[in-house]
């Protein structure tokens, strides 16, 4: 029994490490789009993977794990868990940037502030990550039509900004 449990733990640890290697960036992008805050995105991505670590013994690793991570990250970013983190904290986003990169991020961030979280996330998941509106709608708890409309609105808004 001991060997079986040890083997299972070892396997799930390896699968967890593989999931981290494969999905860290998509999860980070998703949270960054949702929050438009670099520091928060790093923290929430870390937290989402920590929750996967806790659940690694029970997750069905035969199925894609990315949806689990995205839904968990969204939950962490929304009100219930956000409320626990809502004490005002200065963003740590500039700490990981060099000077030119920071300036570029501030420009991009300012431009994307004109979009809602839904609009940003819909663009990132559909255009960059290749997910269908139906898939994105499930993750964001809305309808495919709302996702399509959000992508359209996002592009119009950015076009008007030019």
């Amino acid at each position: 029994m001991g060997m079986t449990v040890q083997a299972a733990i070892r396997d799930s640890n390896l699968l967890y490490d593989r999931a981290f290697d494969q999905h860290w960036r998509p999860v980070f992008r998703f949270v960054l789009a949702w929050t438009n805050d670099w520091g928060a995105a790093e923290d929430l991505t870390q937290e989402a993977f920590l929750r996967l670590w806790r659940s690694r013994e029970r997750v069905d690793w035969n199925e894609p794990i990315l949806p689990w991570l995205l839904v968990t990250a969204r939950r962490l970013a929304t009100d219930r868990f956000r409320a626990l983190r809502r004490r005002v904290l200065p963003s740590s986003q500039t700490a990981t940037f060099d000077e030119p990169m920071r300036d570029q991020w501030l420009d991009v961030q300012a431009a994307l502030k004109t979009l809602s979280a839904l609009e940003r996330t819909a663009v990132v998941l559909t255009l960059f990550e290749g997910a269908s509106p139906a898939d994105v709608a499930e993750i964001l708890n809305t309808t495919p039509g709302a996702i399509r409309a959000a992508v359209s609105r996002a592009r119009e808004k950015l076009e008007q900004e030019r």
Partner: protein, 453 residues
């Protein structure tokens, strides 16, 4: 999902965004809780994990409710092509090792003249930055929140602020604690490991002494709680309700109770829009209740709520009758710290690039407020970068009696009211803004504990 591709329209903003995220620094190692990380040999690590699992199965708190929850905003099913594991029923999440059952925070409780520092607070399950809140109660204390090395949250009680004891049955994904007319009330929720994850309904725990706790099941008239607070006269909570199924909007309300079990809605100001838009989390903040100095406070505001002044604070003694505070609060009030003779309200909008933070002070129990543009003795951050011009040049925190402020140059002060500050030697690690914790007998600054002397 397919690999990232260029957006259909070659928009400079998105191109830059994508390039920046390509340069984002992925941590070299997958994150693990500190308590399970390290350099153990594989066999030892596996053995440790087995011990953890056995311990969890055998403990009371692991058998938390596994109901479907119905928490606001939870997806009802998994995406099709982003296929989720099927047939995985709701189960309690695997639980990280319990924080230490007891720990001590030495020092004196009054007449602080300096600090004696130690660099090994690992046994102290307090994280700086507000992750653990300390509730003064009947001469003792209750600490609750996220412990170092733990993913869930826990509760510790202390009669003297020196020795702290874990309440194991209250460990959960989220735990909130408040004073009540009968003693203390705690609410726990647990997130499942299913796809999509669900959050259990709140479980109400009550205690008359802080040591023995009773499970009272699900509260009546209350769900999706984001904060609770109480006084010996009554309890209040903020709860959120989805406007409709699948909606991105949630409506918040204030609920009142005397026992924590049965709740009724209190209409504080129906003229305001209490609906929060999840589409704009960066500009709309959740209302929050907090208790201190014998009063309850409700912080509410920002443009998402249709307020021109951005922020409102109400105060109440019993949670039923509320009065609007006077004074100028130009940004959203996010949290308060309490001293013996004053209250410090932290305000700001946490939108990077336009961060503006402020201190607002009350010395009359929260009935009126005055902005403190100089951030007490700290002054403005002088780093000169866009993102920090409005930050205080240091850190401040409080324990219900003392405020402690530490400036970036290492100068420190204490205060009872957040208006009159007295210099105190620091000689410890200099905290960053809002990364200082003041305990009953000392301070936490990053990885150091300073016992008050």
């Amino acid at each position: 999902m397919t690999p990232p591709t260029k957006p259909a329209r070659d928009d400079r903003v998105w191109t830059d965004w994508l390039a920046l995220t390509e340069r984002a620094r992925q941590p070299r190692h997958a994150p693990r809780p500190a308590s399970t990380r390290g350099n153990l040999p594989v066999g030892m690590a596996a053995l440790a994990a087995v011990v953890v699992i056995v311990a969890v199965v055998g403990s009371r708190f692991a058998s938390t409710p596994t109901g479907s929850g119905g928490s606001g905003g939870s997806p009802s099913s998994a995406p099709s092509s982003l296929a989720a594991p099927s047939g995985s029923g709701a189960q309690p999440i695997a639980t990280a090792p319990l924080p230490p059952a007891t720990y001590t925070t030495p020092g004196v409780a009054s007449n602080w003249t300096g600090f004696t520092w130690s660099t090994s607070p690992s046994e102290i399950p307090i994280q700086v930055g507000g992750a653990v809140r300390i509730l003064p109660w009947r001469g003792g204390y209750v600490a609750y929140g996220t412990a170092n090395g733990s993913l869930g949250q826990s509760v510790w009680v202390s009669a003297d602020g020196l020795t702290w004891k874990l309440v194991p049955e209250l460990s959960a994904t989220q735990v909130l604690v408040a004073e009540s007319p009968a003693g203390l009330v705690a609410m726990t929720v647990t997130q499942s490991n299913t796809v999509p994850p669900t959050i259990s309904p709140e479980t109400v725990w009550t205690s008359t002494d802080g040591t023995v706790w009773h499970n009272n099941g699900t509260p009546v008239g209350l769900a999706n709680v984001t904060s609770i607070a109480g006084t010996p006269s009554g309890l209040v909570a903020i709860q959120g309700t989805d406007v409709s199924s699948g909606s991105m909007s949630v409506t918040y309300s204030v609920a009142y109770s005397t026992d924590g079990l049965r709740w009724s809605t209190v209409r504080v100001d129906p003229s305001l829009n209490w609906t929060f838009d999840r589409n704009t989390p960066e500009t709309s903040m959740v209302p929050v209740v907090q208790a201190g100095n014998g009063h309850l406070f409700l912080m509410f505001g920002d443009k998402g709520f249709g307020l021109s002044t951005h922020s409102v604070v109400w105060w109440s003694v019993d949670g039923r009758a509320w009065a609007r505070s006077t004074g100028t609060i130009s940004q959203f009030g996010s949290s308060m710290d309490f001293g013996r003779d004053g209250i410090l309200l932290y305000t700001g909008i946490a939108t990077a690039g336009t961060n503006t933070y402020g201190f607002v002070v009350s010395t009359d129990g929260g009935m009126s407020w005055q902005p403190d543009d100089s951030f007490g003795p700290l002054g403005l951050n002088t780093c000169g970068q866009v993102a920090c011009v409005e930050f205080p040049n240091g850190a401040v925190a409080a324990n219900g009696t003392y405020f402690v402020a530490v400036r970036a140059d290492g100068q420190a002060w204490t205060s009872y009211d957040a208006k009159t500050w007295t210099s105190i030697p620091w000689n410890g690690t200099i905290p960053k803004p809002f990364t200082l914790a003041v305990l009953p007998r000392g301070v936490m600054s990053l990885d150091q504990y300073g016992a008050a002397k």
